[in-house]
Symmetry: C2
Subunit: 276 residues, 2 copies
């Protein structure tokens, strides 16, 4: 593992690290914020998965999460959204290829074998993180924005007991029924829609739900809301009687200004589960 940078932030350290990834067959970069408390011993950790076009860097710089995490004594991990680099397939569209991994393991050419973000986040990066840094495997929570909200919700439901709480900002909520999903799942996973189902938060909510607290914020003026389909997920949540808080925030769009406006609430929400 290589240290790209380490900067003092809110009494702790905002680091950026890279490492050779087996899952993605190449070099991967991630951000990690460790609060001051991590100098004394391991701390709980909140994963933040980012949206389309983002690297590990966007949320690190724009989500405004470190101050609240420092206040709570929680670490933050900011993974990248796809494999990168010259040998890695890409597409001219912003919503396919690099920056648009959709948190799945691609089985189709030209995306396989690099595009394996599911295994990267479900197995490889956690292993590295818990071996190399003072963070507690037994106290994890997960959140994300847009495509990252989709990733957070599907990972949380796929691994019961792993995450104490899950939240999402304007998640892609029903990708098997949306142009933000069908295109990418066809490209990465192939035409068999049965293989898509574990990567659809609405379908996973119907099938499994989440055994812990769930918080979703959605901007009412989100320019992409028709692609996100929050109504499908919330209906599934209500039908399941899944404990949850779902908020439609008047006037907010899809940007990081929306994310940062409600970051304090999300970090507090996770802190309650992580320290509870």
């Amino acid at each position: 593992m290589k240290t790209i940078s380490e900067s003092r932030a809110f009494g702790g350290v905002q680091g950026v690290y890279s490492h050779a990834s087996e899952a993605c067959d190449g070099e991967m970069t991630f951000g990690l914020f460790l609060p001051e408390e991590a100098q004394e011993g391991p701390v709980p950790v909140l994963w933040f998965l980012s949206g389309l076009t983002c690297t590990h860097e966007n949320a690190m710089a724009k989500a405004g999460a470190q101050g609240w995490a420092a206040e709570q004594g929680i670490a933050l991990v900011f993974p990248d959204t796809s494999p990168r680099g010259a040998g890695v397939a890409d597409d001219p569209a912003y919503d396919l290829g690099q920056g648009a991994g959709f948190y799945v393991n691609a089985t189709e050419a030209p995306w396989s074998p690099h595009f394996r973000m599911w295994d990267y986040l479900a197995e490889e990066l956690p292993r590295l993180l818990f071996n190399a840094f003072p963070v507690v495997e037994e106290a994890q929570a997960i959140t994300g924005h847009s495509m990252g909200g989709h990733g957070a919700l599907t990972l949380a439901m796929a691994f019961p007991g792993r995450f104490r709480s899950v939240s999402a900002f304007a998640p892609i909520a029903h990708p098997t029924a949306s142009d933000w999903g069908r295109k990418q799942f066809t490209a990465y996973l192939g035409a068999d829609e049965a293989k898509w189902a574990p990567h659809d938060a609405t379908l996973m909510m119907k099938k499994r739900g989440f055994d812990g607290p769930l918080l979703i914020d959605q901007g009412a003026s989100d320019q992409f809301i028709d692609l996100l389909m929050p109504e499908a997920l919330i209906e599934a949540i209500a039908r399941r009687r899944q404990p949850a808080t779902f908020r439609i925030q008047k006037g907010y769009d899809h940007s990081y200004f929306f994310v940062s406006s409600f970051m304090e609430a999300h970090v507090s929400f996770h802190a309650e589960a992580l320290f509870g």
Copy 2:
């Protein structure tokens, strides 16, 4: 108007009053909490509509609202849920007749002319209230529990601009599709379902929505949840992009223990709209 009782409560006064009602063609009773501030001048007012089997008294005694209203300087009105008395029709079932007015104007025998709770709450009781007590007509909010949540939501959407905010505890959310609704609407309004639509929060949300903040709490262990149908309303809320907070509260049932547990949050929510 007759004063039935006035008791000191949280520095203010919890009163119970009765009056001859034209809308309900008989004597009606209501509770009114006035905070200490009402001695100095008019205060904002929060309506609390109650559920099946309740009188004006249940929420007054069990919802735990007065302390929070006193802290905010807000009045609380607790209307009855139906006309009462020897000359008023009734039914042996708990969910029809006295204690089960469903906040509509009955057009069918034997319920007409007494069962006109819609006009009573939309016109007559407000008029009396704003004439006789130091409460501000321009600063109203409304909430309710179960059948009262249904009443609060439908009144709020029917009169745009009247209520600055609306909330509900486990509302009957889609009565035209539920046994808590179809039976009563058939009895009170007749078989023509077009006349039912203005009294269905889900249908009103699809058609009109609410121009202000909306908060709904629902217990995940509510024994009546299949009759309440929260999934229909929240799906309509999300589809409309209606600014709202919807929470499914783990472990809570349909009782006043659920209501009182989240009363502070609801009173604070309304206070923000009433004083904002």
